[in-house]
Subunit: 127 residues, 2 copies
Amino acid sequence: MGDKPLWEQIGAGFVQLYYQQFDTDRVKLADLYYDDCFMTFEGTTVRGKNDVMAKLNSLPFRSIQHIITAQDHHPTPDNCVMSMVMGQLKADQDQVMGFQQVFLLKNIGNKWLCTNEMFRLSLHNFA
Amino acid sequence: MGDKPLWEQIGAGFVQLYYQQFDTDRVKLADLYYDDCFMTFEGTTVRGKNDVMAKLNSLPFRSIQHIITAQDHHPTPDNCVMSMVMGQLKADQDQVMGFQQVFLLKNIGNKWLCTNEMFRLSLHNFA
């Protein structure tokens, strides 16, 4: 991984950690969010780490597995990292669904935190 | 549209203009990009407005139509606007394909310009 651009290492590292935490113990995701973050989940927007965690913890499945099929990472003019993910997820015994997700990451207090996140299931795209 | 947050008006306005230009005369998209922008198209990254336009103009279809099925917009801590789009496109006589795209917009010289863009066809997600 040493020969990849720094922003790609940062973005890919965040993405790996995010889905690993999400799939094993999503309460721990709180460590990855900026206090005044924005998150839009299936078109519903919440603001602030506490509300984001309340939203994530309210999701009704008991178990979930994410698989990443593609990811892209960029540096931004304000020294952030933007990451777009395409993947598939399986919640409980539901059928596998595609999803798309984007993260904006900012270095705050020497940690890369998510300031903005958007999530949509791909199935809307084929309705 | 007056009762929507400013960032949503900015993002939705940009998205509408972007696809309208793309579908009618994509040479004009140059006006929408920051000089030192990054664009990743199907996993291939180019940097700078000139290289982005060269990439867009090299795409092999003659006609294209985009339909947006969902879009989300956020303000970011650095006063940018992040927009995620899910949609469908039809290029020439090819079958309709789903896509996902993200834009980061920054106000530069009193214009909202795209500093970062990522595009992927959704079909990768079902391979």
